[in-house]
């Protein structure tokens, strides 16, 4: 995965009607420490707001957090909207408790496959640390 130019900037938020935001905070802090520009949108963020923010800050990636189990429903269509908005080469990640905890444990490959099917570049289980998230993006951007 190679982007035209790297701007070291990310959008972070919790999608849908999901009010959890602690994971987002932790990510915000980690990415700022790694010298990224972060637009942290908090919780209950509609898809369109992720896109608006990404356009304005010229983001390399959108990091979607979903904790309450309805991630797939909330995330569907985000990739298409990004494409429509001219964000052709933006990287999309999703993480948190992206499905029911039992599902995550037993059917991870299937969960991952379905998110990739709707256009996400990477899917992270809730065991992912912030440092791992930062490292993954750096790798994808080909930096540091």
């Amino acid at each position: 995965m190679k982007r035209r130019h790297v701007n070291r900037s990310v959008v972070i938020g919790t999608i849908g009607a999901d009010a959890h935001m602690i994971g987002g905070w932790v990510l915000e802090k980690a990415f700022k420490e790694a010298r990224f520009t972060v637009a942290f949108l908090g919780a209950v963020v509609p898809q369109q707001e992720f896109i608006n923010a990404a356009i304005e800050i010229d983001a390399d990636a959108i990091l979607v957090s979903s904790m309450y189990g309805m991630g797939l429903l909330d995330c569907e269509g985000l990739r298409d909207k990004c494409t429509e908005a001219g964000l052709d080469d933006i990287i999309l990640y999703v993480g948190g408790t992206v499905a029911a905890p039992l599902e995550l444990e037993k059917n991870w490959p299937e969960v991952e496959r379905r998110f990739k099917e709707i256009g996400f570049d990477r899917v992270f289980p809730n065991t992912c640390t912030a440092a791992e998230a930062v490292q993954a993006l750096k790798t994808d951007l080909g930096i540091d």
Partner: protein
């Protein structure tokens, strides 16, 4: 005695207030039609002689003069940003808070049609934004290029992505544009910083626009700069709410200003969520906020308000206020609302003298205030999901605002100004609209708020005490 004259060159009337700053009293007020098309000092002199006649003022005793203006269309600006809800919204707020009217606004890349629209709009200043600092550079660069190749002659204020600000300025200057540059109105998504842009807008207004609007002679008379009227009112609102070190303010407030062409709403209140669990979305709100509704005014725009209400509802409300409308023995039988509204829009200086005319104004002003406050105030909606309900709030929560103030001609000459203020209140039928629930209500019977704002720059504490003294507390009844 230390007498100061506070002049407002309004779109219709030139108003003067004479105040004694050392004794903190208003000595008198006078007005005459604004004569901007010929020589603005003609109207000014008429108002002055009325002032001398009515309050026996000796002009030689005057120690200073301050002035504002909204004549010749006021300060007209175009706002350009990237995403409509983000940098464009921040740009619009910058203009409004500087006392401007945003006559056109555009997000994303502008094209040649838009450039022609901007040229035709004859703006006084264009505010060019786009991209957070370090964010998008492409769109503001493109838009600067489009403006550079246009016929636009007004000053362009660049307040976008810092990284390309110099390049954007160079592009415009190379094509002979007058360019000003300041820091980004939205340096990052969680920070709206409109003050530097607003300070520059004020400077540009003083440096270029006073002249362009034919106000040179007025500025000579005043002996100092003239600022946009809405800016003066906003300064008054801020002073009144926040106070000074020596004189406490009256707390959070909402000012409703119903005019002939527009309705202005000013609020000074800290942003707070409706409940501690409420999620707030959208750009951060600043404590001081102004919105202006260019389609709501009770003279020039009486037809728009009338269209909003509808003929039948208009008559019903009028009848409610003025039952004599149907009196078979009265002369009001022939009243045709269509004709009346048409008359108002063509005679913008009209001051009603009949019961009927006064009441018709109230119906118009009520609707203008209600709609304008609804657009100014934030909203809250309940989101239902499988995991229960959450409240999501957009914009400013004004439910707990402590004071509601009415200003403008209608609050001075009009009947039952409290009706107009009532329409600015929270309405249980529209619980999502976060209008004030139970404020103290005050009326600016002297039409002095603009003057308080002018005085605030030089004598804040006396200005504040005068405002407190002359605002009339009123009971909205039920």
């Amino acid at each position: 005695m230390s007498i100061y004259l506070l002049v407002d060159f309004g779109s219709t009337y030139t108003k003067i207030l004479a105040v004694d700053v050392s004794n903190e009293v208003i000595l008198g007020r006078a007005q005459a039609p604004t004569t901007i098309d010929t020589d603005v000092t003609i109207g000014l002199n008429r108002a002055l002689s009325e002032l001398v006649d009515t309050c026996g003022l000796d002009l030689r005793q005057v120690e200073g003069k301050y002035a504002s203006s909204s004549a010749a269309g006021g300060l007209k600006m175009a706002a350009i940003g990237l995403v409509p809800e983000l940098t464009l919204e921040a740009a619009r707020r910058a203009c409004l808070g500087a006392g401007a009217k945003v006559v056109c606004s555009y997000g994303f890349e502008i094209d040649s049609d838009i450039v022609r629209e901007i040229e035709a709009a004859r703006c006084d200043i264009i505010l060019l934004c786009g991209g957070t600092d370090g964010g998008d550079k492409r769109v503001i660069t493109h838009n600067a290029r489009m403006l550079a190749h246009s016929e636009i002659a007004c000053p362009i204020l660049v307040a976008g992505n810092r990284v390309v600000s110099d390049a954007v300025r160079d592009t415009l200057e190379r094509h002979g544009k007058k360019v000003y540059r300041t820091s980004n109105v939205l340096p990052s998504l969680d920070m709206v910083e409109v003050e530097p842009a607003q300070a520059l807008i004020r400077e540009i207004f003083i440096a270029h626009i006073t002249h362009a609007k034919g106000l040179d002679k007025a500025a000579d008379f005043i002996g100092g700069p003239i600022i946009p009227t809405p800016k003066a009112t906003l300064q008054a609102a801020t002073l009144l709410a926040q106070g000074t070190v020596e004189e406490p303010g009256i707390g959070s407030l909402l000012v409703v200003e119903v005019g002939g062409a527009t309705t202005n709403i000013h609020s000074v209140a800290d942003q707070s969520p409706v409940t501690p669990q409420t999620v707030i979305r959208g750009l951060p709100e600043s404590p001081v906020k102004r919105t202006v509704e260019g389609d709501l005014g009770i003279r020039y725009n009486a037809p728009t308000i009338y269209d909003f209400i509808g003929r039948d509802a208009f008559l019903a409300r009028l009848r409610d206020l003025y039952p004599a409308l149907d009196d078979p023995s009265g002369d009001d039988q022939r009243f045709d609302p269509d004709e009346h509204i048409e008359y108002l829009s063509k005679n913008v200086g009209h001051v009603p003298t009949t019961e009927l005319g006064l009441n018709a104004d109230i119906v118009l002003a009520e609707s203008a205030a209600s709609i304008a406050v609804e657009r100014h105030a934030g909203t809250v909606r309940q989101e239902f999901s499988v995991v229960g309900e959450i409240l999501v709030q957009h914009g400013k929560n004004l439910l707990e605002v402590e004071n509601l103030i009415g200003t403008g001609g209608i609050f001075r000459y009009g009947l039952r100004p409290e009706r107009i203020l009532s329409s600015a209140l929270f309405n249980p039928e529209k619980p999502w609209s976060l209008k004030p629930r139970n404020p103290k209500t005050l009326i600016d019977r002297m039409y002095m708020l603009y003057g308080i704002g002018l005085l605030a720059e030089h004598f804040p504490a006396p200005a504040l005490r005068i405002a407190k003294k002359y605002l009339t507390e009123t009971d909205l009844g039920s």
